[in-house]
């Protein structure tokens, strides 16, 4: 059975801190891994990772995938209050590209 574990489940930091969010997975016919940010409603796309060891960056956010050890991390540097959200990790199965979501990491950034 497919399994996605995100840690920590929740995290409280102050503005300016750097955070690392973890995602480990066991997914049949793995194709890629996607990260999303969920504030009030819909998940908004952050990254799609297909290859091991290649860091993807977008501003203060970066992410990397390790397909041998079956995990991914999402880093956020110089956090801001606007980064407060639930961050979702979603490995994707090949074939019909179904996403299997983790429970998420709830990040709270205090001023």
């Amino acid at each position: 059975e497919d399994k996605v574990v995100q840690s920590p489940l929740s995290l409280v930091v102050h503005e300016g801190d750097t955070v690392t969010l973890n995602c480990s997975y066991e997914v049949t016919n793995f194709r890629s891994l996607l990260w999303y940010k969920q504030e009030k409603k819909a998940p908004t796309f952050l990254f799609m990772l297909t290859s091991s060891g290649i860091e993807k960056k977008s501003g203060r956010l970066s992410s990397i995938l390790d397909k041998k050890e079956l995990f991914s991390i999402l880093n956020i540097t110089a956090t801001q209050t606007g980064d407060s959200a639930v961050y979702l990790c979603a490995p994707q199965r090949g074939g019909y590209n179904k996403l299997i979501f983790g429970a998420g990491t709830r990040l709270a950034v205090h001023p």
């Binding site: 999303y36 819909a42 994707q92 590209n97 179904k98």
Partner: protein, 113 residues
């Protein structure tokens, strides 16, 4: 501008009633998905729809559920006889043909009383 537009944003219905949730992709894509999220729980896959046919469905997607693309543009999810446990946010998603990235609509909140 959202990648996909979903309507209604919120629907309240009585148990046993039929509901139709709609999704309008902004541009023409082949792969569409429905996911749902019960309050406080994980986002769950319901069904994938490729080239106007169901390609994969989860065990949640039983005979009460159906999907259609009636006019080649709108993409609908129908729940025939709603149950209390169908109360959730329902998200439509489309896949980018070029990159494989998956983008979600704003969601339709369904409340079954």
């Amino acid at each position: 501008e959202p990648e996909v537009t979903q309507t209604p944003s919120h629907q309240v219905t009585q148990m046993g009633q039929e509901v139709i949730l709609r999704c309008v992709p902004i541009s023409n894509h082949l792969y569409f998905y429905w996911y749902r999220q019960i309050l406080g729980q994980k986002v769950e896959f319901l069904v994938s729809f490729y080239n106007n046919e169901i390609s994969e469905k989860s065990e949640i997607f039983d005979d009460q559920f159906s999907v259609e693309r009636p006019d080649g543009s709108n993409f609908t999810l129908k729940i025939r006889s709603t149950k209390l446990e169908d109360s959730a946010m329902y998200f439509c998603a489309r896949e980018s043909v070029n990159t494989g990235e998956l983008f979600f609509g704003e969601g339709s909140r369904l409340t079954v009383l």
